[in-house]
């Protein structure tokens, strides 16, 4: 394991300390927790936004704490959901009297821990609403699964719900717009290499030298197919088509595109993929309103990418364009 760390059991604590040290004027650490909150939270009259999950997906989620996006992020151990008491602390830290909205990625652990925190908060008189993001089309949604996984599309929920909250939206209005994003956002990923959880010390899985995995999850959960590496164009085509098979995006529709790097992929490759994705969308008469290329939801040092498409209406466009001062998503 080649990592620049001190102690595998302390990586999350060390990271959180380093994060606070980087942006002391923007974020603060809730004492005795791994919760990072906006310096000025709770903001009176504004609904508080909380997200979080296992660590290892940086800049998710702490990087999205800031004016116009989240009010707090809860960091669990690497790839492990944070516990309800931590989430509760986050909720309490950002409640400005108008309630708190939770953005949860659809993993059993995340859902259970956040839901439990929500109940505890409600018991303390704080109104809580939530959205569960399940944008990954790789794992099908059926009665035989716990549903789709939540991946990079989550960041667009943060952005849009955050803008709604910043503009004075009520808990109900935020819930409505977040539901709309979840209904309209789809993603799919692929990987060339595994990643290594510091505490485990060895790669989570292995791929052969010429092999890639299509549909992989952000913790290395199995995808839908392992096969020899194809070209950037073929990869872009396969992922984009799977997404377009899943959600109807018609000629003339406006969308946002996110090309997300999983950790070790050079930005050069993200742009090479972007060219093909934009070409396919153009050929389908789909209008790309905005494009995001970069690392938004990573899996430690995994090499690979995910593609996210979000169908936009006028409301979503406006909220997507609204200002954000979160370190990892400036607009």
């Amino acid at each position: 394991m080649k990592k620049i760390i001190n102690d595998p059991d302390q990586v999350v604590q060390d990271m959180v300390n380093g994060y606070i040290a980087a942006y002391p004027e923007k974020v603060r650490l809730i004492p005795n927790t791994l919760v990072l909150a906006r310096k000025e939270a709770p903001i009176k009259g504004k609904v508080g936004l909380v997200s979080g999950g296992g660590s290892g997906h940086e800049p998710a989620h702490a990087g999205y704490v800031g004016k116009g996006m989240l009010d707090a992020a809860v960091a669990g151990e690497v790839f492990t959901s944070p516990t309800p008491d931590q989430v509760l602390e986050a909720i309490k830290a950002v409640d400005g009297g108008e309630g708190v909205f939770l953005i949860i990625k659809n993993y059993t652990g995340d859902v259970l821990n956040f839901e439990m925190a929500a109940e505890m908060a409600e018991a303390e008189g704080i109104q809580v609403e939530k959205v569960i993001v399940n944008d990954d089309v790789a794992v099908e949604d059926s009665s035989f699964t716990t549903g789709r996984r939540g991946i990079a599309g989550t960041v667009l929920v943060h952005k849009i719900a955050g803008a709604k909250a910043e503009s004075g939206g009520s808990l109900k209005e935020i819930k409505q717009v977040a539901d709309k994003v979840v209904a309209n956002v789809r993603s799919m990923g692929m990987a060339l290499t595994s990643c290594t959880v510091p505490a485990a010390g060895k790669p989570s899985f292995t791929l052969k030298e010429d092999e890639m995995e299509i549909g992989i999850g952000i913790h290395g959960e199995p995808g839908i197919e392992r096969k020899p590496i194809t070209s950037a164009d073929e990869i872009a085509t396969e992922l984009t088509n799977r997404i377009l098979e899943d959600i109807e995006i018609s000629k003339g529709n406006n969308i946002a595109v996110m090309i997300n790097g999983l950790g070790a992929t050079p930005e050069m490759e993200l742009y090479i993929v972007n060219e093909k994705v934009q070409g396919i969308l153009h050929d389908n008469g789909i209008h790309v309103y905005r494009t995001f290329v970069g690392e938004y939801m990573t899996s430690l040092e995994m090499a690979g990418i995910s593609i996210t498409l979000l169908k936009l209406d006028d409301e979503l466009k406006t909220l997507l364009d609204a200002g954000s001062e979160a370190p990892a998503f400036r607009s």
Binding site: T80, S81, P82, T83, P84, D85, N113, M116, T145, E221
Partner: protein, 207 residues
């Protein structure tokens, strides 16, 4: 048989011993059809539980169970943390106010616990989870006036045997679908240890 504060503490400590002893085994079970952290999660959580129990003086069984629930909640994490926390919280609420718990009360508590567990996990029997151990045990207490330690053991190990052949449709193991058949579910096995511990305390208590 009756449960008082000291027997309840003994139960939990015995469960912890079994979990610590089988930490690596539980983790190994979580590797092929999960993410390989169940033993680590449970060992960390139950160790903290025992530390907590040693610090406090308890008057009521429900106070013990409440600390068990809250410590599990804040120390286990993952999917199993809130689930085990829920069962102990439901037990706590059902047994509140009683200094000594008789079998009938315990049966009611277990029933509440299983309902809470199923609700929290949106799971039901047959989905290859800890529910498939908790539910048969609750049934056992529900339907028998006099439960002895060997029937607890028997019910728990029968339940585990059945879990093996189920296909997972909840939790991380559900990603593995058919591949999960033939494997033991880690959360079901750690639940088994909890009832193995209960059976031993029950035996002592019945004497």
């Amino acid at each position: 048989m009756e449960l008082d504060v000291s027997r309840t503490i003994k139960w939990i400590k015995l469960a912890n011993e079994k979990i610590q002893m089988n930490k690596d085994y539980l983790t190994t079970l979580d590797q092929p059809i999960g993410d390989g952290d169940h033993g680590i999660n449970m060992a960390r959580g139950f160790q903290a539980v025992v530390t907590k129990l040693d610090e406090e003086d308890y008057q009521e069984v429900s106070d013990v169970l409440k600390d068990v629930a809250m410590t599990i909640m804040s120390k286990v994490g993952g999917a199993s943390g809130p689930l085990f926390a829920t069962v102990f919280l439901k037990l706590t609420n059902a047994l509140k106010g009683e200094q000594i718990i008789n079998q009938k009360q315990f049966a009611i508590g277990l029933n509440e616990a299983v309902s809470g567990l199923k609700q929290r996990g949106k799971a039901t029997e047959g989905e290859k989870t800890m529910v498939d151990v908790w539910s048969p045990i609750a049934d056992l207490f529900q339907t028998n006036e006099e439960v002895d330690h060997s029937s607890i053991l028997q019910t728990a190990s029968n339940a585990l045997e059945k879990v093996k052949d189920m296909m997972a449709t909840k939790g991380r193991a559900s990603y593995f679908k058919e591949k999960s058949i033939g494997h033991l579910d880690p959360g079901a096995v750690s639940s088994y240890y909890i009832f193995e511990a209960l059976a031993e305390v029950w035996k002592g208590a019945s004497k």
